[in-house]
């Protein structure tokens, strides 16, 4: 009896140690991902990757607003829980400066991964040191105008618009025209002229950037000097405040991207300035029957919108095995065939060859417009304190749109704070 027990114990221990050994060798990739369609598209394809490589991947999906803090806590720890990073372009100044990311250059060279296929602007948006590659583009989020074609072609609406403004109803070419149209729709149609994401911070900073670029303004000039406080800046902020007050939905000052999506989807808004890849999500009979087939995409009125992007990175504070597994995943997910597969489900490509893929263009003809949106997009200032500047600018925008303070003062303060943070 005693001998039997001993044998049982011994075999149990052997099995346990074998299992532990196997577990030690197995790398599980863990990534904190923004809960957006792009993530869902990749998530659906993960079993394919696991089958091909044997590497398991886990996505933890959360809202954008919580991502930065959650990542920073891991990146400053001795060992990061996340061994694969989804990095926003707004953090592309901060993360490498803080020495939190692995330089991907040696991995690229060793694996002979061809990075030339990527649209150069999507790479430079995320990497500021020409000698090093810390972040490989994942998808772009250039912003454009998504609008209701049924309202824009409605004869009654056209007549009313003509009577009210003495102008022909058409897709607006300037920012001023867009705000006028959005205000008119709200007044006469009883729905929001613009679904706006006015919550302080990332939502309103990104939205305002479109107004700024569309009005011909800039944050910085070619010499990195702050030029925000300019006549174009003033016009942009004036029109932004006007739109929030007179064209947007009720509660726009507390609205996020999700709120605007739901509003547009319910058919209670005429337009929204948003990421171009929101179009397939909204123009979807199953998800948004109220607006499916009635939507179109256009570059931002005025010619330029905000352009951003996400990329893949690998934390410095993870094991070499985890780094290798993460790089295997990055190569796979950004390869031509996987990106094309993703694009066929609505992904916003970063490889030029995917935009020209016949299958992609056949399924989504508006990808031609999307390429235009990407090509004309301009970037929010990227530096170490970009995330803080978003908050600073967002506070000023929110205050002035809420009726506190003047446009001149808000613009001056936003410019001063940008100068201060650039020097910090």
């Amino acid at each position: 009896m005693l001998l039997k027990n001993k044998i049982l114990c011994l075999s149990g221990l052997v099995m346990l140690s074998a299992a532990m050994g196997a577990q030690a060798k197995e790398v599980v990739l863990r990534a904190l991902m923004e809960d957006v369609p792009e993530t869902h598209i990749i998530e659906q394809m993960l079993p394919q990757f696991e089958q091909e490589t044997g590497i398991k991947v886990q996505f933890e999906k959360i809202g954008y607003g919580d991502m930065h803090d959650k990542l920073v806590a891991q990146l400053i720890a001795p060992q990061s829980y996340y061994n694969l990073l989804e990095v926003d372009f707004l953090w592309a100044g901060e993360f490498p400066t803080a020495n939190w990311l692995t330089d991907l250059t040696p991995l690229v060279k060793k694996s002979k991964f061809d990075t030339r296929a990527f649209i150069p602007s999507t790479v430079s948006l995320l990497n500021h040191d020409p000698e090093k590659l810390y972040i490989l583009p994942m998808y772009n989020y250039s912003m454009g105008l998504i609008y209701r074609t049924d309202l824009l072609t409605d004869k009654t609406v056209a007549q009313l618009y003509q009577d009210a403004t003495q102008k022909t109803l058409a897709l607006p070419k300037t920012l001023e025209d867009y705000v006028t149209l959005a205000k008119f729709i709200k007044q006469k149609q009883g729905i929001a002229g613009a679904a706006m994401q006015g919550q302080r911070g990332d939502p309103n900073s990104m939205e305002f950037s479109n107004y700024l670029f569309a009005a011909g303004g800039e944050y910085l000039d070619g010499k990195n000097q702050v030029v925000l406080n300019s006549p174009a800046g003033k016009q942009a902020l004036t029109l932004y405040v006007d739109a929030i007050k007179n064209a947007a939905q009720d509660g726009a000052l507390s609205a996020t991207l999700d709120d605007t999506m739901r509003l547009m989807c319910s058919g209670k808004a005429f337009s929204m300035i948003t990421y171009w890849w929101m179009l397939p999500q909204l123009d979807n009979q199953k998800a948004c029957p109220a607006v499916a087939g009635k939507l179109a995409l256009a570059p931002m009125p005025g010619g330029h919108g905000e352009s951003g992007g996400w990329g893949w990175g690998i934390p410095k504070n993870v094991s070499p095995e985890e780094k290798q597994a993460a790089w295997t995943f990055i190569q796979w997910v950004q390869s031509k065939h996987v990106e094309t597969e993703r694009a066929l489900q609505g992904h916003a490509p970063v490889r030029a060859d995917v935009y020209k893929d016949p299958a992609v263009l056949a399924k989504f003809p508006y990808y031609q417009t999307a390429e235009q949106v990407v090509a004309t997009g301009k970037s929010f200032p990227i530096f170490t304190y970009s995330a803080q500047y978003e908050d600073v600018l967002g506070t000023q925008l929110s205050q002035v749109a809420g009726g506190n303070g003047s446009i001149d003062a808000a613009l001056a303060e936003s410019a001063t704070q940008l100068e201060k943070l650039l020097k910090k």
Binding site: Q199, D250, A255, R262, S266, K268, D391, Q399, A401, N404
Partner: protein, 306 residues
């Protein structure tokens, strides 16, 4: 008459090592594990926060040295946003604690008269308290969504206009306070109900015989006798409210503008968006001082009235 055991306990203890008698040493021995745990979980974070607040530790340069003196405090205290957040925090705490106490006391008094279904009411009342503030914030955010939320839908169906609950700078603050009162009130109800149940019956019987009315009984008997329990409840809630962070984070992110930016949110912004953990720690210590000051003032007022 004393029993044998109690007589032994009351016997004068013999003097022991280094001036400590055996009785005291036993007490310390029993208390030491708890004190050690407290020192680790309470003492260490406070000391570390102090070190951070006087250091040059930022996320870009994560090192305590060089010593920064009072630079971080000067930087935080010279920021107008700090004083605005501090004032808002005090105002918010006073409004929410007053609301929780008044409504909570009313419900506790009503429950004091209920006998049969009291456990059911208590069970229902503990639901908000058992929910995490983040869940509460998300649920209310959906309910109060201005265009698609159920609250405005109901208002409209009754012929009333829609309300911009979280998008209006003036209303957002009050809405947040209301949600906080809704959640925290159940704690106040439970404590006050327990206090009311423990009150002796004799003073009420005497008052009834003397012909005292209900409000007179409440004013001259219930309130004075309930004061110790009420005071503790108010202090606990005051400390809770001064530290509020979850609700503004989930509901408004401190906006619109800075309409709901409380001090803990200000400290978070400094630490994680400004990447200056040292300044965040300085702001958090300033908040700690405000909490301590308000608690001391409250107890001093109570002592004076006793």
């Amino acid at each position: 008459m004393l029993t044998k055991t109690s007589a032994v306990c009351l016997r004068k203890p013999k003097p022991g090592v280094a001036g400590f008698d055996r009785f005291r040493l036993t007490g310390w021995a029993f208390a030491s594990p708890g004190l050690l745990a407290l020192a680790v979980v309470l003492g260490f974070p406070v000391i570390y926060a102090l070190m951070l607040a006087f250091s040059s530790f930022t996320l870009m340069r994560p090192a305590l040295a060089p010593f920064a003196g009072i630079d971080n405090f000067t930087s935080v205290l010279s920021d107008k946003a700090f004083w605005s957040a501090a004032w808002l925090t005090v105002k918010y705490s006073l409004i929410t604690v007053a609301g929780e106490f008044i409504v909570g006391l009313g419900i506790a008094l009503m429950l004091n008269r209920v006998v049969k279904t009291r456990p059911l009411y208590f069970a229902l009342l503990t639901i908000p308290m058992a929910m995490s503030p983040v869940c509460v914030g998300l649920i209310w955010r959906m309910l109060l969504q201005p265009n698609l939320g159920i609250v405005n839908h109901l208002l409209e169906s009754w012929g009333w206009p829609r309300v911009d609950w979280l998008g209006s700078p003036t209303l957002a603050f009050l809405t947040m306070a209301f949600i906080d009162i809704w959640q925290q009130m159940s704690f106040v109800v439970l404590i006050l109900a327990a206090g009311l149940a423990a009150l002796p019956r004799e003073p009420y019987e005497a008052a009834e015989m003397d012909g005292a009315r209900h409000w007179q009984q409440f004013w001259y008997i219930t309130l004075p006798m309930l004061r110790p329990v009420a005071a503790i409840t108010v202090v606990i809630q005051l400390i809770n409210e001064l530290r509020t962070y979850d609700l503004p984070y989930v509901l408004t992110r401190g906006g619109p503008g800075t309409a709901t930016e409380v001090l803990s949110f200000f400290a978070y912004r400094r630490a994680f968006l400004g990447l200056s953990i040292n300044e965040g720690a300085a702001a958090a210590l300033a908040l700690l001082l405000i909490v301590l000051a308000m608690t001391v003032v409250f107890f001093a007022m109570l002592e004076r009235r006793r």
